[in-house]
C-alpha cells in the first residue's frame, strides 16, 4: 500500500515539472489509475462535455450480405409474398421498400431449426402450388393468383398460438413477421419522421444491466 502511494507521488513529481516547462499557464496533475507512457493521462478530456456527433449510415443502405439463408427460388418467393402481404400503402413504404425480405433472410437464418424449417417448407410449398396451379413460379404470379393461393391459408390467431396446420401456420407467421419487420424498419421510421405520420410506437429498451463479464 505504502509502496503504491510512493509510486504515485513519484510519478506525479516527475510528470508535473515536464508539463510546466512546456505550458506554464496550466499545470496538469495526472489522475490515478490512468498513467500513460506519454505526457498526458489516457482519459484526459473524456470527463467533461459531449463528443462531436458521428454521421452514420444504415448498414443495409450501403452493404450487401455475404451469405444468404434462403436459396434463390425461396428468396424470390419470399420477395413476392412480402410484396403482396405488406404493400406500400397510404404513403408508407411496403415490405420491399423496407428491405424486409433481406432482413428476414438474416433473421430466419439465425433462428431456431423449427422456424427455419417452417419458412423453407412454407416457401417451397407456395412455389410448388404455383407451379401446379398456374405452371409458373410463385414469384411470377400476378396479385390475383397470389391471393388465390394465400387467402385460403389465412387464419386468425391468439397470441402465442399460431394456427396448427403447417401451411396456415407458415402464412400466418410470415405475415406477422413481414408486417412487424416492415413497421419497425428504418425506411418506415424515415417516412414517418419526414411527414406528419406517426412512427410505430416505441418502447422502453433495456440495456444489459451490469452484464456478467463471463457471459458468452
Amino acid at each position: 500500500m505504502r509502496r503504491r502511494d510512493f509510486m504515485k507521488g513519484a510519478l506525479a513529481a516527475t510528470v508535473a515539472p515536464t508539463v510546466m516547462t512546456a505550458q506554464t499557464s496550466s499545470p496538469v496533475i495526472p489522475k490515478t489509475g490512468t498513467i500513460a507512457p506519454g505526457p498526458l493521462p489516457w482519459m484526459q478530456g473524456l470527463d467533461h462535455g459531449e463528443l462531436p456527433p458521428v454521421r452514420t449510415i444504415d448498414i443495409d443502405g450501403i452493404a450487401q450480405p455475404s451469405e444468404y439463408f434462403f436459396h434463390s427460388t425461396q428468396t424470390a418467393t419470399l420477395v413476392r409474398l412480402s410484396e403482396v402481404l405488406v404493400p406500400a400503402l397510404n404513403g408508407y413504404p411496403g415490405a420491399i421498400e423496407a428491405q424486409t425480405p433481406a432482413f428476414l433472410d438474416f433473421f430466419v437464418g439465425k433462428s431456431s431449426p423449427e422456424i427455419q424449417l417452417l419458412y423453407r417448407n412454407g416457401l417451397d410449398g407456395l412455389d410448388a402450388e404455383a407451379k401446379t396451379k398456374y405452371g409458373k413460379p410463385f414469384a411470377a404470379l400476378d396479385t390475383a393468383e397470389v391471393d388465390d393461393i394465400v387467402k385460403p391459408r389465412l387464419a386468425t390467431w391468439m397470441p402465442d398460438h399460431y394456427p396448427t396446420p403447417t401451411e396456415e401456420r407458415f402464412v400466418t407467421v410470415a405475415h406477422h413477421d413481414i408486417r412487424m419487420a416492415t413497421l419497425n424498419s428504418p425506411a418506415w421510421a424515415s417516412v414517418a419522421r419526414n411527414g406528419d405520420k406517426l412512427p410505430t410506437q416505441g418502447e422502453i429498451y433495456w440495456y444489459p444491466v451490469e452484464p456478467d463479464i463471463y457471459r458468452n
Binding site: 419497425n184 422502453i204 444491466v209
Partner: protein, 523 residues
C-alpha cells in the same frame, strides 16, 4: 476478518423478500438481503427507442430466451439468460421458467391483478376431495391481506363473492361502460358473478418491492443489501442442526464468500428457493420438497369486437373498463370432465385492434383495422392447475449454471383436467361474448406451456404433518426452526387467482411470527 452474525439473512428482494425485510426491520431486527442480480437504474439502464433502432427490429433476439414468450428485443436484457442459468426439462414436457434477477425481482414487472384466495382454495380437499387442504383458512390470512391491499393501494369494487372475497380497496365507483354492462348482464343471466377488476395502483405507477416495501426497511436503518451475489448453499451448524448462514459467489468476480446469520428467510422465488434447499440437502425429511409444482394455465380466451363501437368518433361511453368473473364451475354444480375451475379476465379495449384478429392482408387488412378501431374486447382465462405429486423439480445430473451451481430439472405437464378445463373456458368465453352481442374474431382453447403465467407455486408446501409437507403453517421449516421460506413455494394448491397478494400476505404473517419468535428467544 472476523465476521459478525447478522440477525436475519434474507435471500431475494422481490415482493416476498421485501415484505420480510419491511416487517422484520420495523420491529428492530437487523437484516442483510442478498440478491443474485444487479440494481437497475432506470435513467442509466433504459431508453425509449423505436423498433427501427434495434438490430432485430424488435423481434426476440434469435437463440436467446426460447422459453420466455414475453421476451422481445426491448426487454430481452431483463430476463435471466437461459444459457447463464440453465435448467432442463423432461423430453416433450416444455416448461417456461421466466425469471428476473434484477434487485426487486419480478415485482418490477407484473400485471398488478390483486386477488385473494378463498376457502374454495384453502380448503379445496374438503370441498371436492382432491389434494390437500392448506393448514390455514382465509380467516387466518384476511388481516394480512387487508394490510397488503392498503400498502399496495389496491383498487376494486365493494362487491365480493364466497369464491373471491372482497378486501381493503380504494373503491372504484365509475359507472360501467355499455360494453361492460352487456357482459355483466349476460354473466349474471348465466349465474356468474361479475366483479370490478382488482388491481394494485402502487405509487407513481409502480407496485414493486423496491418502491413500496424496501424504502421503509432501509429507512429503519436495520437493512443492508448486497447485490450481485449468487447463493450456492445454506450453511448448517453441525452441533445444532440449525442454518447459520450461506455460501455465495460474487456474480461478477467469482469470489467465493460466506455470511453468518441467526435465521434465514428464503425469498428467492418458488423454484430458486427450492433449488437452493435441494442443493443444500436440508429441510427435506418429508421427501416432498420439489413436488406439487403448479401454476395457472394462461393463453386461453377470445378476442372480440363490439359492433356498436365501430366507426364512432367518441365511443368512450361504450368502451373501456375491466372486470373479473370469479370461478363458477364446481362451486355449486359439478362439471363433467374436470374439477376446480377458472376465472375470466374481462377487458373492454380502446385503441387499435391487432392484425391477428383478421384473416386478411394489405389494403383489405388496413380497411378492417380502420373500421374496427377502438372496438376490441378481450376475455382471458386463468385456470387452476392441480397440485400433483408427480409434477416436480429436482437437481439435474449434468447442467450447472455460470457459477458451477447445479441446475434444476423440471418435470411437469398438464393433464386432461387442465385441457378439459381450458376447452370449457374457451367455449364459455365465446358464448358469453356472443350473448353480449359481440363478434368473436378469434378463439383459443389450448393453454400455453406450464410456467408461462410466471406463477410457479408449490414445491415446499406447507402443512401440519411434517411427513407430508416441508413447511408449517408459518412458512417455517418443520426440520429447521430458524429457516423460513416465504415465497410461492409454500402453496398447497394454486387456485385460479394471481398469487401475488397471497404471497405478500403469507410473507407478512410469517415475518411477524419470526419476529415474535426472535423476541421470545425461541429462534
Amino acid at each position: 476478518m472476523a465476521q459478525e452474525k447478522v440477525d436475519v439473512l434474507i435471500i431475494g428482494s422481490g415482493h416476498s423478500g421485501g415484505m420480510a425485510a419491511k416487517v422484520l426491520t420495523t420491529k428492530g431486527i437487523s437484516c442483510v438481503m442478498l440478491n443474485a442480480g444487479p440494481i437497475a437504474e432506470i435513467a442509466k439502464d433504459t431508453e425509449h427507442k423505436g423498433g427501427y433502432e434495434l438490430p432485430y427490429r424488435g423481434f426476440r433476439p434469435p437463440g436467446r430466451l426460447q422459453h420466455v414468450f414475453q421476451a422481445n428485443e426491448f426487454n430481452a436484457n431483463v430476463w435471466v439468460d437461459e444459457k447463464e442459468v440453465p435448467y432442463t426439462c423432461a423430453p416433450g414436457q416444455p416448461y417456461n421458467w421466466v425469471r428476473v434477477r434484477l434487485f426487486g425481482g419480478r415485482s418490477l414487472f407484473w400485471s398488478r391483478q390483486s386477488l385473494r384466495l378463498s376457502d374454495y382454495e384453502f380448503k379445496g380437499k374438503s370441498h371436492d376431495g382432491f389434494g390437500d387442504d392448506w393448514p390455514i383458512s382465509h380467516a387466518d390470512l384476511a388481516p394480512y391481506y387487508s394490510q397488503v391491499e392498503g400498502l399496495f393501494r389496491v383498487k376494486g369494487g365493494n362487491e365480493s363473492a364466497a369464491q373471491l372475497p372482497g378486501g381493503n380497496y380504494i373503491f372504484e365507483t365509475t359507472p360501467w361502460t355499455q360494453s361492460m354492462q352487456r357482459v355483466k348482464a349476460a354473466s349474471e343471466k348465466s349465474g356468474y358473478y361479475f366483479l370490478r377488476q382488482r388491481e394494485a395502483l402502487g405509487v407513481d405507477g409502480l407496485a414493486s418491492s423496491v418502491n413500496i416495501l424496501l424504502p421503509k426497511a432501509f429507512d429503519s436503518g436495520k437493512l443492508t443489501a448486497i447485490p450481485n451475489v449468487v447463493v450456492r448453499e445454506l450453511s448448517v451448524d453441525k452441533n445444532t442442526g440449525l442454518v447459520d448462514g450461506a455460501y455465495f459467489v460474487d456474480r461478477l468476480t467469482r469470489r467465493e464468500m460466506s455470511i453468518k446469520a441467526r435465521s434465514v428467510v428464503l425469498a428467492a422465488g418458488t423454484l430458486e428457493s427450492t433449488r437452493l434447499l435441494l442443493n443444500s440437502k436440508i429441510a427435506n425429511s418429508s421427501g416432498v420438497m420439489g413436488h406439487y409444482l403448479a401454476d395457472q394455465c394462461y393463453g386461453v380466451g377470445v378476442t372480440c369486437s363490439v359492433p356498436e363501437a365501430r366507426g364512432v368518433k367518441d365511443n368512450s361511453a361504450i368502451m373501456g373498463g375491466g372486470a373479473v368473473i370469479p370461478r363458477f364451475r364446481n362451486i355449486t354444480d359439478k362439471a363433467n370432465n374436470f374439477i376446480r375451475g377458472y376465472g375470466l379476465n374481462i377487458t373492454s379495449l380502446t385503441g387499435p385492434m391487432e392484425p391477428r384478429c383478421f384473416p386478411s392482408y394489405g389494403a383489405e387488412l388496413q380497411k378492417q383495422l380502420d373500421l374496427y378501431y377502438g372496438s376490441g374486447f378481450s376475455i382471458g382465462v386463468m385456470g387452476e392447475v392441480l397440485s400433483r405429486y408427480e409434477n416436480h423439480v429436482r437437481i439435474g445430473k449434468d447442467a450447472v449454471d455460470a457459477w458451477g451451481i447445479p441446475a434444476l430439472h423440471v418435470e411437469t405437464k398438464y393433464t386432461d383436467n387442465e385441457f378439459n378445463l381450458s376447452r370449457d373456458a374457451a367455449e364459455t368465453a365465446a358464448a358469453l361474448a356472443e350473448a353480449s352481442g359481440f363478434e368473436v374474431l378469434t378463439k383459443n382453447a389450448a393453454p400455453n406451456p406450464p410456467g408461462y403465467s410466471i406463477h410457479e407455486l408449490g414445491t415446499c408446501r406447507m402443512g401440519d404433518d411434517p411427513k407430508t409437507s416441508v413447511l408449517n403453517k408459518w412458512n417455517q421449516s418443520h426440520d429447521i426452526k430458524n429457516l423460513f421460506v416465504v415465497d410461492g413455494s409454500s402453496f398447497v394448491s394454486a387456485g385460479w387467482q394471481n398469487p401475488t397478494m397471497t404471497i405478500l400476505a403469507l410473507s407478512m404473517r410469517s415475518s411477524e411470527y419470526l419476529a415474535e419468535q426472535i423476541r421470545l428467544g425461541v429462534v
